[in-house]
């Protein structure tokens, strides 16, 4: 983890970017109600996820913020101002927007795609491009890609460009409409982690729409579950949502394994570690090689107590033949082992309910799914 993880940008804090939905309804001419009397407050500097089945009005709600859709009744306040008093184009230039297929302009090079809003704001070409290059690096893209055209990039890379473009004019608010749902699961996980990393640096007010409850739980500081027909069912932190769904609809929408998934929010750092047993084979660099069982080396599960969650620790224990999870540090060196009793001691503490506090980097892949650090050496 980088040291900048928790760094905050002061200008983006506070209530200025708070978005308030005040009794907002969207009714179309054919009588369909997309959003029904929605009232909610979107906290500044945090990720708020709108999640729900198709037809729950989540995208419509998002688009009413930047006036791509205008509400039939009710008000949306952005930093205390009714968005309907703001000229739409001006409003939109101050709000980043990321959509599903990235929506990059096929005829513009990546750098010019990213510089779109600066150009619209009248920056000169040099300054706009310099800013674009900063963002291309910020979202983890190779600067060499800057002169390519969108079709030359993979779906995941295009989506990163989409995020860079949305951030180009440093807007305090970012709207993201199912931005990661058109890429494959591995790339999606990478993009989600990247978003969390960026957000820990930038502290934008992000409204994120998805139909994927796992994504909502993973990304949201606050999750708003919407009913079909555009009614707000529940708005809460992800851990609270998992432990205290307000009704059958929310419970059903959250799906199976709510208890297990809640463990993602508990850090594994409190697990008691015992010295590694003799049958754990350790290499010269202190990295575990395997467990000796009947004269064979069998695979084991590892977790990093500093950065992983209890879910990852439990997973590691279940992957080991003797049910103990091997604890390793950031470099993959053995710290000790967590026995089932040690894991159980932590689990007992949290059974029933838990605070809405996220373990650092709790959502990364369990350690055993990562390539052991030793394999990185050139062959």
């Amino acid at each position: 983890m980088t040291t900048t993880r928790r760094r905050r940008r002061d200008q983006n804090d506070g209530t200025k970017s708070l978005i308030i939905f005040d009794g907002v309804t969207k009714r179309y001419q054919d009588g369909t109600v997309a959003v029904d009397d929605l009232s909610m407050e979107v906290p500044g500097g945090a990720i708020t996820v709108l999640v729900g089945p198709s037809g729950c009005g989540k995208t419509t709600s998002l688009r009413m913020i930047n006036r791509m859709v205008d509400a039939t009744s009710g008000r949306i306040l952005l930093g205390g101002r009714d968005v309907r008093e703001i000229d739409p184009a001006t409003l939109r230039r101050g709000i980043g927007y990321v959509i599903q297929h990235a929506g990059l302009f096929p005829h513009r090079r990546i750098v010019d795609n990213v510089a779109t809003v600066p150009y619209l704001l009248g920056w000169n070409r040099k300054k706009a491009r310099a800013r674009a290059m900063e963002l291309i690096e910020l979202v983890g893209l190779d600067p060499k890609l800057a002169t390519r055209y969108p079709f030359q990039l993979s779906g995941g890379q295009q989506q990163r460009v989409g995020v860079a473009r949305a951030l180009a004019a440093d807007p305090p608010v970012l709207l993201m409409d199912e931005p990661f749902s058109a890429v494959d699961p591995v790339v999606r996980t990478g993009l989600q982690d990247e978003l969390l990393r960026l957000q820990s640096e930038l502290r934008k007010t992000i409204v994120f729409v998805t139909h994927d409850i796992d994504e909502a739980i993973k990304l949201g500081d606050t999750v708003a579950v919407l009913h079909t027909g555009g009614r707000l069912a529940q708005m809460a932190g992800p851990a609270t949502l998992l432990s205290e769904p307000v009704d059958g609809f929310v419970r059903e929408f959250l799906g199976r394994d709510r208890g297990i998934r809640r463990l993602s929010f508990i850090s594994a750092k409190d697990v008691r570690l015992d010295p590694a047993p003799a049958d754990l084979a350790v290499g010269g660099d202190d990295r575990p090689i395997g467990l000796r069982v009947d004269g064979r080396l069998v695979p084991y599960g590892t977790f990093d107590p500093e950065s992983d969650s209890m879910r990852a620790a439990l997973d590691a224990a279940l992957l080991s033949p003797d049910g103990t999870a091997v604890a390793v540090d950031g470099d993959g060196r053995v710290l000790g082992v967590a026995t089932r009793e040690a894991l159980d001691a932590v689990l007992r503490k949290y059974a029933g309910g838990l605070p809405d506090q996220r373990a650092p980097a709790d959502q990364r892949a369990p350690a055993d799914q990562r390539a052991p650090a030793g394999e990185g050496s050139p062959a």
Binding site: N66, R92, R93, I99, G103, V117, Y149
Partner: protein
């Protein structure tokens, strides 16, 4: 008795640039003029009409129907109609040919704008483009490959259709056909056909080159979309 050769090369050299109004080079020039001006005029007219048809889809069917009927009229009939207005001038050929190009170019503009993916248009709106700037900087550039494809068809068909104008004495290279038929002399006919085909191939090649230069982003774009 020596048989008449298929091509009398000496006729070509004598008639290439002999200063008379029926010199091959003069006919080539007027052919070029009467072929390309309709395409340019066609683009100028098709662009606003196509934009209007894309903006108000109800206009599209009547407009397309009208230009298709024009296209279906035999060109000679159109030439005769305009003969009474514009007389024996190139305009009598250029105006009907302009209508013919519209039958290709208006749908090309409409299809071109329809080829702009919805997520691209949506993101342009969301970035804060106002409608005119969005049209000029996003929608029209993205429509260029489709419009150029239509322009290639219009250009080649225009180059070929000019020759019909020979029937009213304004046919560019087509006049070589009249000459050849009247005298049962094949050389001018072959020269006319060869030059028209060459012109068409050259013009098409230039347009392909223009497309490569104008839209380097489009080659794989249609597959990737």
């Amino acid at each position: 008795m020596k048989s008449e050769p298929l091509i009398r090369w000496d006729w070509i050299t004598r008639n290439w640039d002999n200063g008379s109004p029926s010199a091959i080079s003069t006919l080539l020039e007027s052919h070029l003029l009467m072929a390309f001006v309709p395409v340019l005029l066609g683009l100028l007219v098709a662009l606003p009409l196509g934009l209007a048809c894309a903006r108000w889809p109800r206009l599209y069917q009547p407009t397309a129907g009208l230009v298709n009927v024009m296209y279906a009229l035999p060109s000679l009939v159109l030439f005769s109609i305009f003969l009474s207005v514009t007389g024996l001038t190139p305009a009598t050929v250029i105006i009907p040919l302009t209508f013919f190009t519209l039958a290709v170019l208006i749908p090309a503009v409409v299809d071109g704008l329809a080829s702009v993916p919805d997520h691209v248009r949506q993101s342009a709106v969301a970035m804060g483009f106002r409608p005119l700037r969005r049209l000029l900087q996003v929608e029209l550039p993205v429509a260029v490959p489709v419009v150029l494809a239509g322009t290639r068809v219009a250009t080649v068909s225009s180059i070929s259709l000019v020759s019909v104008g020979a029937l009213i004495g304004q046919g560019g290279l087509g006049e070589l056909f009249m000459d050849g038929w009247q005298r049962q002399f094949y050389t001018p006919i072959i020269v006319g056909i060869a030059l028209i085909v060459l012109l068409a191939v050259l013009a098409d090649g230039l347009l392909v080159l223009a497309q490569r230069l104008l839209t380097p982003w489009s080659r794989a774009w249609r597959d990737a979309r």
